[in-house]
């Protein structure tokens, strides 16, 4: 009898508690499972999977941004799919196919607009973050790359085929577009610094990069690091590097060199090269730990089983890790105490202590690629 009473009491208390289940999202994240069109919701403190959600379409080269309240993840698929994932209900809240072929997106500083970079038809489309209704269509007649958000409800992006950079200002009712030509041959990716001041475009067709000072009255392209590969024969590029690892490492940026086994160090003020580090392969991501003390680097095929850690002060490789076949992406916890990385062909995520470099755990995942923690919601350009 007492037992039954206890059960009844438990039921009475449990029922309302379940209905008001509280899900805090600050240490959640998502992992892209690229071959199956699914997404894992993970808890980075627990080092565990919370849920798997399916139905995202073709997720090759997928990327994610988060709403300012860290409740929604916007997942950008290759097939033009823009999917709004609710992390609290672990289900798809909305989904549109907005183009035939897309390559990532961005969310405005106020969290109201989501922009998607498209290859086909080339251009950027901007959507209401709540409803996913089209707000603005900016056709470029070229494949767009390097789309980032900038302060003041702006988006900046560049074009692969035509070598242009566009700055779209969405702060007024009608979008104002500034179009800058002659940025360079075949821009392949771009980054914006955390302060929103500098937009730096990587060039595939030239030995160098192009930088913009977005604080200047007249915004114009400036070539930097011209001829950085001079004297060395460029190697075949089996995978385009990413420039997202903008995070300042001390007073320097670190960037992957295209077609060379090197990363380049750039002075954050003068934008001049201040050094380079020889690496194991062609770098794909060179990501600074949030405090800037170390930089972790992964590599293109066929060297993609390796990750190297470079000390920012000495510029030397201090650790070589061999996580397994096809390390695609790395994500630091917000304060940098751990790093998560995806081992695509090993079908797992590995988690490392960034102080001791010890492996702390593994999570199974089906051909995982991108890893994105909700802390990105509060950073420009991510």
């Amino acid at each position: 009898m007492i037992r039954i009473l206890t059960l009844l009491v438990a039921l009475c208390f449990d029922a309302p508690a379940a209905a008001e289940r509280i899900v805090a999202t600050g240490d959640l994240g998502v992992v892209i499972e690229r071959a199956t069109g699914s997404v894992l919701i993970i808890d980075q403190s627990e080092m565990a999977t919370v849920a798997r959600v399916e139905g995202f379409g073709d997720l090759s080269h997928a990327s994610v941004v988060f709403s300012p309240d860290q409740r929604f993840a916007y997942v950008f698929g290759r097939d033009g799919g823009l999917t709004k994932l609710d992390l609290t209900t672990q289900s798809i809240a909305n989904r549109v196919i907005q183009s035939g072929n897309a390559i990532g997106g961005a969310i405005s500083d106020d969290g109201r607009l989501v922009a998607v970079s498209n290859y086909d038809p080339g251009g950027v489309r901007i959507f209401d973050a709540d409803t996913l209704e089209l707000v603005a269509d900016l056709p470029t007649e070229a494949k767009t790359i390097g789309l980032v958000d900038a302060p003041g409800r702006k988006f900046v992006f560049s074009t692969w085929d035509t070598g242009e950079t566009w700055i779209a200002d969405l702060s007024a009712e009608l979008p104002q577009v500034t179009r800058i030509e002659n940025v360079g041959i075949n821009p392949y990716d771009a980054l914006i610094t955390g302060d929103g001041r500098r937009y730096i475009v990587g060039l595939f067709g030239e030995d160098g990069l192009t930088a913009f000072d977005l604080w200047a009255d007249e915004i114009k392209p400036t070539r930097i690091l011209e001829n950085y590969g001079k004297g060395d024969e460029a190697l075949p590029v089996y995978k385009m590097p990413h420039l997202e690892g903008w995070a300042l490492a001390g007073d320097r940026f670190v960037l992957p060199a295209v077609g060379h086994h090197e990363v380049l160090w750039i002075d954050a003020q003068s934008l001049e090269e201040v050094g380079r580090t020889k690496t194991h392969g062609q770098p794909i991501f060179a990501v600074a730990r949030p405090d800037g003390r170390h930089v972790w680097v992964n590599y293109a095929h066929p060297d993609n089983d390796t990750v190297e850690v470079i000390d920012t002060l000495s510029g030397e490789v201090i650790r070589t890790l061999k996580p397994g076949p096809a390390v695609l992406h790395m994500e630091f916890t917000p304060r940098g105490h751990r790093l998560w990385l995806s081992v695509r062909d090993g079908n797992r995520i590995e988690i490392y202590d960034t102080g001791t470099f010890e492996k702390l755990g593994e999570i199974p995942a089906d051909t995982p690629s991108g890893i994105f923690f909700t802390a990105r919601a509060h950073k420009s350009g991510l």
Partner: protein, 104 residues
């Protein structure tokens, strides 16, 4: 009729060429096509930074031409030469695979 014979021959040639690659190697090559070619050409090969390379498009090329493109790349574009990583036989296997629509 001659056309039909040519087609039959072509179909016969495909498995014969593919047979020169063992099943283990074939699995490695398939993964390479889907994942690594896919990073530019799209996981479903419908295109990305690189052109679409699904079977309909690939019918416009014979297998030797495709193998040459794979091995030597296309100068002036982002298509790299894969010769350092693939043998001619492997490139032909990939050419057959693309033309036959191995992903379907």
């Amino acid at each position: 009729m001659a056309r039909r014979i040519a087609l039959v021959l072509a179909l016969l040639a495909t498995p014969a060429a593919a047979a020169e690659i063992g099943p283990q190697k074939a699995a490695v090559l398939e993964r390479l096509v889907v994942q690594d070619c896919g990073s530019c050409h799209g996981l479903t090969l419908k295109g990305g930074l690189g052109h679409a390379i699904h079977p309909e498009k690939m019918q416009h090329y014979d297998r030797e031409t495709l193998a040459d493109i794979i091995l030597d790349g296309v100068p002036g574009t982002a298509m790299p030469p894969w010769r350092a990583l693939l043998t001619e036989n492997e490139a032909l296997w990939i050419a057959d695979y693309l033309r036959a629509g191995g992903l379907q």
